[in-house]
Symmetry: C2
């Protein structure tokens, strides 16, 4: 997998202009871009620039309605159901999390459940919105069915990530993970790199293990069967039913509470239909917010300082790798796979943009080899 | 592992009397017993009668204060912090969940965080309390440090189960799982059975894989290092950081919000200090409760009817195995390991109870071999 490195502001400018070309307002384009760029800044390459082509296709096919505005269709002081009206997932997610934050500021906590949305980028972005304001944020989403439940051979749940963020020093607690062993984006990266999948990641259309990323991804698209395994693999002995259970938890907060489409009914040729869930908790619900945040910071520090396994030199707390990635990106730029760069070029041609005015003549002599896919 | 089978009412009577002998009121003894018996009825053998000896020891050592009453030390309309004052975990958990249910009935949702408690049995019992009343229940707890975080060789988190229950037809959605690959109770069962642990379950004091349950359990007691792995095993590639992350989520709701002891500081020779977290959500927060519950029931049915993997004949939804176990127990009785029966006999001797007046002369010709540990 060959990468090119770009400065943040170059990618940001490109995305701002591209989304405006698609018909979004300047403000909307900034929100969408910030979600994507945050992913790349956090080192979650699978959900940054790599996703542009998916949004491009979604808008082209009419699955993402550029003009749609999210609407609150039911609410109480601690909750809301939002209909996304098939709009852009990032805009719906941003609006929903703002709604949850605003309610939690008054009531102490709030849950917002969303139906009829589309792919919203990294779940963690929205959890972080709350943590940036001193609150505890949760965000989850369902998605195209990709997780094969324990004992099944058909994908019935999405990768269904759950994200949690809470303020802490010196960096926030930030946990964002799919409830599958890995995400679809990771499989796409393996396919691009033409690498064999590690054991325990995926099954074919008969429910048997396979290392063939191309086959699994094609099967998902054609709904032929198979998919990615839950966290915990294929057997109860290794905890398969647990990953499947966390995936269900995601469905509760997203598709079930909102009366939206469960993952197995989303993403047909006519409709995205993705559902999201958001929760915000004010730590002041439990007393002295600062003392609670300090208590977490102390525990995180104890974790980082705990004795290491033989051969391992560092214990990470959740959010630490993201903090490190931001520092790295500031120095090195954002790594973007060359195939993704070509997709971006295609998109700019489609939009009538002058690709080289953003990126100059692409110099392939600067291509780096990515050593570690994970 | 040899088992004897007992009728529910025999075990129930024995426990009612035993806990009253320890000094609990009749009502308190009934609550504690119900938590334990529910575990055995659900087929979660590791958390039923098998745990009696642990409570026995806890009371004997003065870690569990029989006379303690849980106290609300901070509250808002949607939240409470409860100090358990080192009482019996089941009584504190029951009180805390009742507090959460009562608040959620008025406000729509509520979170209760508990400090200074002790082992409270299965997390799912409390989640089910809410679901029994048409609400959505969550329950989690920290515990003696037993989970070795990714890259560590020292246990820093507990088995930290998360349980979720929501009404559904024909049986509720009921998910109750440790965020470790398996629980300590499961290791105790393997030790009793003198079986080798499956790969990916545990590490020794250097952080290396081991199949020796005796060694791991001894290391945990002596705090020599090692322990059980997070869901996802020892490597990020298999999702180790995810199980570790869900364990952290547990700590947030239990030890962090309540300003209690994080798992790594609980269960010293002088103090239990276990912390719990509870959340209740009224589905009416999102509109028509019955429609939302029906929506979940439909999805669960679709999951059960999904195509099976080659060689597998059934896809379970969470709560289905528990519903089946109850039917089985009604016919066969509750299976109790013979070593556990001996522990119960020791306990009754300590309490001055007439063991045979409950169980008669134990007939070892009725011992069954348990075929499958999982």
């Amino acid at each position: 997998m060959s990468h090119m490195y770009f400065q943040l502001d170059v990618l940001t400018n490109f995305c701002h202009d591209a989304f405006q070309k698609f018909g979004f307002s300047r403000q909307e384009s900034e929100i969408i871009t910030d979600v994507l760029i945050t992913s790349d800044m956090y080192g979650i390459e699978s959900h940054g620039m790599q996703r542009l082509s998916r949004y491009h296709k979604g808008i082209q096919k009419g699955l993402i309605h550029v003009d749609a505005k999210p609407e609150i269709v039911f609410e109480t002081p601690v909750s809301a159901v939002i209909d996304g009206h098939d709009g852009m997932g990032q805009l719906i997610g941003y609006f929903a999390m703002q709604t949850a934050i605003s309610k939690a500021r008054k009531a102490g906590m709030a849950i917002v459940s969303v139906r009829n949305s589309n792919h919203y980028g990294i779940a963690g972005y929205y959890a972080k919105m709350a943590a940036n304001e001193g609150l505890i944020g949760f965000s989850c989403t369902n998605s195209e069915a990709i997780m094969v439940p324990t004992n099944a051979r058909k994908a019935m749940l999405g990768s269904n990530p759950i994200a949690v963020a809470m303020p802490a020093e010196p960096y926030m607690f930030f946990f964002d993970a799919s409830t599958t062993v890995v995400t679809r984006g990771k499989l796409e990266m393996y396919r691009k790199a033409e690498h064999e999948l590690p054991a325990g990641w995926a099954v074919d259309h008969t429910g048997h293990a396979t290392g063939n990323a191309e086959l699994v991804l094609e099967n998902i698209v054609s709904r032929a069967g198979g998919g990615i395994l839950p966290l915990g693999g294929s057997e109860e002995k290794s905890g398969s039913h647990k990953g499947y259970g966390y995936g269900m938890l995601c469905e509760l907060f997203s598709s079930i509470f909102s009366m939206g489409l469960t993952s197995n009914h989303t993403n047909t040729p006519e409709k995205g239909g993705t559902c999201h869930g958001f929760m915000v908790i004010d730590p002041a619900c439990f007393g002295d917010s600062q003392a609670i945040i300090d208590h977490l910071s102390t525990f995180l520090q104890e974790l980082r300082e705990a004795p290491k396994a033989k051969g391992r030199d560092r214990i990470y707390t959740h959010g630490e790798k993201e903090a490190l990635a931001i520092e790295r990106v500031k120095v090195e730029g954002v790594p973007v796979d060359v195939k993704t760069v070509l997709e971006m070029k295609d998109m700019s041609t489609y939009l009538g943009m002058d690709f080289e005015s953003y990126f100059g003549e692409l110099d392939l002599s600067g291509v780096h080899e990515q050593k570690n896919l994970y």
